[in-house]
Symmetry: C2
Subunit: 462 residues, 2 copies
């Protein structure tokens, strides 16, 4: 089956592809907030219907949380590898809403100095990226009447909220989901125009704690002085997480972390990443992490302990002379190498509890989540096929990169289904994913669709 | 004019006095929040009408903020001192609302193990305390047809939000407001049943700052590591405010602080204050402030730097892997001795700015406020009269105490009107002022009214 008419069909159908993506973007499928349960159902229904429209046997599958979407096309005897394509239809919360220039769930096409973009929550992470693969399949089917290989589609709706239903679902449906390799489109290009395949991903640990001092909010005139202030207490605890060199000061934190081999470091230095541009684009002039490591190493190959939320006391207009009863902190760690999430959680909790003042009480998240880092087997033939396909589409040698983000699914595909993953994404670092004014470049979307068409072609030809 | 029938009238009228107070408590006059502008007007109107009902020439006076209430009764030739009575009709915000057991502005009489209480925002601070004086005047007028001396009433509606209109108003109406002494009912008894007159008050400095790191919220997978996290930055800055001994580590912070004379310390030790009860009542087992000072000294005679609000990042359900663009902190200091609020503000700002990381930008409150500490002239005859009156009502020697809170008005009466203040209050430490479930003991209200009747009698007899 020839590729060229598929690429032409993709070009001709781009406006309709964008219209379909916008329909999906209008559904506010925020998975972490229980108020958006119905929109998550709606997004799953939309995907089932869309997959069915291109001849895929797709269904919504219930879970205790948000539903999965599973679709199948092709038969065991089909030529080429059997691939599973994974994406997620849920999105991050939109706060702070007042910083959005347009409503997050009313997507718009906008012209910017860096080209045309699709603006709206989920445009990049992950609805836009997910639809690059679906649109590639649609074009292939339209031109050739069938897809080039056997494909399983697997979309979840809890990626942005820790995927609580994912592991049980994968275990219960292991036979149905097994394929030769998983394709995942949820990552960025290392720099604009440089096609990128992820060779390693950081893992993740999430936790949260509340410090209680006095049993009630107090007046700072009465208890200011003798009273333990949970805000001062939590600030001291958070400040204790790092030393003056930006290293995490939790004992044993770096157990299982390996230095990057020299040849890999050299390859990364040549991958088109411009440190100053990367930092300047968000208002930084220098890297702020661990001393002695480049920005790229800090992001791809070093673990972190970040504070994602910190709050307590009065936040309104004016002032309130209060010593609040409680203070709260949400943290996430990025894990590399062989760091063990469960062991790390114990170390962090021990670090905090050893530093608590008398009369300070602590409660921890009842459902912390962790996943180890992933390192891909890039020697597989599918990686060679993807490198060739991407290099042809982007007129630039594809690079195998690290990734700062955490895509736990890759680890689960390996551990539960014994299946390698290949992560190819077309996002830009300035897409503002998880932030106000998220966008996806139309070029990412268009050439992303074309890229998948080429990858399917390369993997199945000869 | 004899006192006894006035006291009898107060006893007989108590239920009506409580009913009137509850009317006032139902008006949600939160001064710091612009949404409650009308209720502040309503509370002022209510007071004008109530004063007029007992023959006082009272008016609502406009300011750029919430109005003042000013009332006059008596003439320059009247016997006895001319007193000014000051109180405030505004209240603190009610958050966190979910911790209230009854709606904050639907006051209730409740029976508790410590006696009957009036529950609701403002019941103690300051509507209940303010009405003790008004009710004493009402009884005096009902019995004798007139009040025992010349009285000016002066109520403001911005005490809980920094009193921005107070100084200009006092300056513009200095002649009208001048009296021999100011009486203020906005303080606590040092312990239940021990009548207390404040001999010194702490001053106050308020400030607020925002730390901006990246120009937008970032994904912690991309910038976690190289990115400056404002939450970590603000925690480090807040943690730098104190050393390991609980002392404020800002250079020059203690300039103007004097140690308490030994005889005064001895008197305080004998004033009925029970440290363990005071600490245990809110969940503490030990004092947490400056090492080397008792709880009472920490509260009355030592300065503080407290954090009243600290926030940034994601606070909702679930988790969000964000590095937020901004973090915020509200602080207040309590001042003693000769500490200079303006100089102190500069020192604190210099402390913070000297510790900022590269790429961290800081903005400060445009309208910080400060007032120095006050020390009263307790040798005046009105203090002797008040001690005698209070000792008679409470069957216990009245004590001259310090006060941890800040009542800037006392300093302004001195500096603008050349007038001493006498602060007598009937609140309890467990009244939960500024907190959910604020209450005022009915005993405080009842004996508070009787106390003022006795004070007026003692000051004007002979």
């Amino acid at each position: 089956m020839s590729l060229d008419p598929v690429l032409s069909r993709i070009d001709a159908d781009l406006d309709q592809s964008i219209t379909r993506l916008m329909e999906l973007l209008r559904i506010p499928s925020i998975s972490t907030d229980p108020a958006y349960q119905q929109p998550c159902q709606d997004a799953a229904d939309w995907l089932v219907k869309d997959l069915q429209s291109i001849g895929i046997d797709a269904q919504k599958r219930p879970t205790p949380g948000h539903p999965m979407v599973v679709g199948h096309v092709g038969d065991p005897g089909d030529a080429g590898p059997h691939v599973l394509f994974y994406g997620h239809y849920d999105v991050q919360p939109v706060d702070p809403l007042e910083l959005w220039n347009t409503p997050p769930f009313e997507p718009e096409l906008q012209d910017t100095p860096n080209g045309r973009v699709i603006r709206g929550r989920g445009s990049s992470d992950d609805k836009g990226q997910l639809m690059t693969f679906v649109e590639a399949c649609r074009a292939w089917k339209a031109v050739h009447g069938k897809l080039p290989c056997r494909i399983t589609f697997f979309f979840e709706g809890e990626e942005e909220s820790g995927s609580p239903s994912l592991i049980p679902f994968m275990k219960d449906h292991a036979e149905e989901l097994k394929a030769d390799i998983a394709l995942i489109c949820d990552t960025s290009m290392v720099s604009p125009g440089v096609p990128s395949i992820a060779g390693q991903l950081r893992g993740m640990l999430k936790d949260e704690f509340t410090i209680t001092g006095p049993t009630i909010d107090l007046h700072s005139g009465h208890y200011g002085g003798p009273g333990l202030n949970p805000l001062k207490e939590i600030a001291r605890l958070v400040a204790s997480f790092h030393d003056d060199d930006g290293r995490v000061a939790v004992e044993g934190f770096y157990d299982g972390v390996h230095e990057v081999p020299a040849d890999q470091l050299a390859a990364w230095q040549d991958c088109g990443f411009d440190e100053q541009t990367y930092l300047n684009s968000v208002g930084y002039t220098v890297p702020h992490g661990e001393k002695g490591y480049s920005t790229l190493e800090q992001q791809w190959a070093r673990p972190t302990l970040e504070v994602n939320g910190l709050w307590g006391g009065y936040q309104g207009a004016g002032s309130k002379t209060v010593i609040p009863s409680q203070a709260h902190c949400k943290i996430t760690c990025r894990l590399v190498g062989d760091m063990d999430p469960a062991a790390l959680q114990k170390k962090i909790r021990a670090h905090v509890e050893a530093r608590l003042s008398p009369d300070a009480k602590i409660t921890w998240d009842k459902t912390p989540e962790g996943s180890p880092a992933s390192v891909m087997d890039t020697s597989r033939p599918e990686f060679a096929a993807a490198r060739a396909a991407l290099s042809a589409e982007w007129n630039r040698e594809a690079v195998v990169t690290g990734m700062g983000g955490s895509i736990p699914i890759a680890g689960f595909f390996k551990s539960i289904l014994g299946m390698e993953s290949m992560l190819i994404g077309f996002a830009h670092d300035d897409d503002a994913i998880h932030s106000p004014n998220e966008k996806y470049n139309v070029e990412s979307f268009h050439k992303g669709i074309r890229s998948w068409a080429r990858v399917l072609d390369e993997m199945t030809k000869g």
